[in-house]
């Protein structure tokens, strides 16, 4: 497989992204290595071909955002909004991720080996997220569809105002958000968990996870609720 290297100490991010948007889509699947990312924003956003981008170091904001069919591996940490609004493909962070990881992802798989910050998977719309460590507060807020696997702990207000996304947590949940509840694991959940953990390369027993899903009580206006949620 062809392997191209972009050194961001020498080349601008916009040149890298122009290559990925214009040249890479004309070629068969190949690999692009990005050296010295040094926290630059928007690395490998908007991929639209099965290219594999390996980032050696720490990425800034929105790395791998809007990804479609590409694979982005970050061998370091990622800033705010990694893999946000992904459509398909894979974004894999080997270190930790900052706030808003995988926000509103429609599809694809976001893997974070370390911890994720606050609002991970906020407004998730169908993507899958697997976090090896813990997630911060307000994660999966208003998540509509998709699955989130949290191997560590979850912060405050997990799954607040959840729609149909399903969350799995192995560690402790500091608090659940409005309308989120713990439900028993079904066979479908075990299959989902086994598959996602295997794809992400984690070895946990699927049965050691708790399932969090919507109580569906916020779906309809309840005039008697006295606005006390």
């Amino acid at each position: 497989m062809e392997n191209l290297t972009f050194d961001l100490a020498q080349t601008r991010v916009s040149d890298l992204n122009r290559y990925l948007h214009v040249e890479a889509v004309k070629k068969p699947a190949h690999k692009v290595t990005v050296k010295n990312p040094d926290g630059a924003h928007n690395i490998a956003v908007g991929l639209d071909s099965p290219v594999e981008v390996e980032v050696i170091g720490h990425a800034g904001y929105y790395a791998g955002g809007m990804n479609k069919t590409g694979k982005v591996i970050i061998k370091g940490s990622a800033g705010t909004g990694v893999g946000e609004n992904m459509m398909s493909g894979v974004v894999h962070v080997r270190g930790f991720a900052s706030n808003g990881a995988g926000a509103s992802a429609h599809g694809g798989l976001l893997i974070i080996d370390g911890d994720a910050g606050l609002r991970c998977g906020i407004s998730l719309k169908g993507g899958d997220i697997v976090v090896g460590g813990s997630v911060g507060s307000f994660s999966a807020f208003m998540a509509q569809a998709g699955r989130m696997v949290i191997c560590g702990d979850a912060g405050d207000a997990l799954g607040d105002s959840l729609y149909e996304a399903i969350l799995y947590v192995r560690g402790d949940i500091k608090s659940l958000g409005a309308d989120a509840q713990i439900q028993p694991l079904t066979e479908t959940d075990i299959t989902s968990l086994t598959d996602l953990l295997q794809q992400a390369g984690f070895n946990h027993d699927p049965k050691s996870f708790k399932k969090v899903a919507s109580r569906r009580e916020l779906y309809h206006w309840n005039a008697d609720a006295n606005q006390e949620y």
Binding site: G39, G57, G60, T80, G95, S98, N99, G136, S137
Partner: protein, 302 residues
């Protein structure tokens, strides 16, 4: 927006390179804060003197050509004791062996347009409008030496772009604070502090946070207790980085709306809004890099 940087060196040999290491950190935060920049450096002591006062003349017509030598001379005559002077353009540091309040009162009476930036045994403070690169060059930030420093690049949202509204803010002695974010109750804080005789220089929201925390410290709280009270009283979005003579302290609001990242090695602790400002530091590839958690107190001692 705004950018925050902080650097504390653990190895004494690195103290002479403090400014040199910091300048790329500050410039790295230009996109987050292009309108003003500033920093406070803790130098470890006032040498032969008891107190140092950083003063800014940029609000006066003379500006960069202000006659600092003349002021030092008059001050010497007035006090009857020796006065140290370190001046560059619109900035000067007076060193004195008397109560600094006497000096500040005299300066205010004789030169009402001069702006007092900071007072203390250890702190030197610089801030001005301009890009971080321009401000760094204006005051030769690359040559600064010391144990630790706190820096800021500003993109104004809550008050006008003027030198006195740039960060860091100081209150009392040897205390400074920089802020990324915006407070929603700065006027409430002011109404609480003003009746206690606490004077405000500007209408800036960060100044309210700075004066509140310094007031708590002066009332006898230790840094941890003061910060705990800060969490209770200060409402809004913030990452605060504070400097005292022997420590850097960092807190983030419960929603962690504003970023921060820390890199620690055996030689230094470096803090910035984003990793881009840390990427050039020596040994960064082996540093422990982490994101400070919301509502936690981080204190690094020299």
């Amino acid at each position: 927006m705004c950018g925050i940087v902080g650097l504390l060196v653990k190895t004494p040999a690195m103290r002479e390179h403090l400014g040199e290491l910091m300048v790329p950190m500050l410039i790295g935060m230009t996109e987050r804060g292009p309108d003003s920049a500033g920093l406070a450096v803790f130098t470890g002591g006032a040498g032969d003197y008891e107190r140092k006062i950083s003063v800014y003349s940029g609000l006066l017509e003379d500006g960069d050509d202000f006659n600092w030598q003349g002021v030092a001379h008059e001050l010497k005559e007035h006090l009857g004791v020796s006065v140290g002077l370190e001046a560059k353009g619109n900035h000067a540091i007076f060193s004195v062996n008397v109560d600094p309040e006497i000096v500040k009162r005299w300066l205010k009476e004789q030169y009402p347009g001069l702006f007092i930036l900071s007072t203390g045994k250890s702190i030197h403070l610089y801030k001005d409008i301009g890009t971080p690169a321009e401000v760094a060059a204006r005051y030769d930030f690359g040559k600064l030496q010391g144990t630790h420093l706190v820096g800021h690049t500003r993109m104004a949202t809550e008050s006008a772009v003027t030198p006195d509204r740039a960060h860091p803010f100081t209150a009392g002695e040897d205390f400074c604070l920089v802020h990324n974010g915006s407070l929603s109750n700065p006027n409430g804080i002011r109404r609480k502090l003003e009746p206690q005789g606490i004077h405000f220089d500007t209408d800036n929201d960060t100044e309210a946070a700075c004066r509140f925390l310094e007031w708590r410290l002066r009332e006898g709280d230790d840094l941890e207790t003061a910060l705990k009270k800060g969490f209770e009283e200060l409402d809004g979005f913030y990452t605060f980085l504070m400097g005292t003579p022997d420590a850097l302290a960092l807190i983030r609001d419960p929603f962690a709306c504003k970023p921060a990242v820390v890199a620690e090695t055996d030689d230094y602790v470096a803090i910035a809004s984003e990793f881009r400002s840390l990427a050039h530091l020596p040994g960064i590839n082996h540093a422990h890099v982490f994101e400070p958690a919301p509502e936690e107190m981080y204190v690094w001692k020299i």
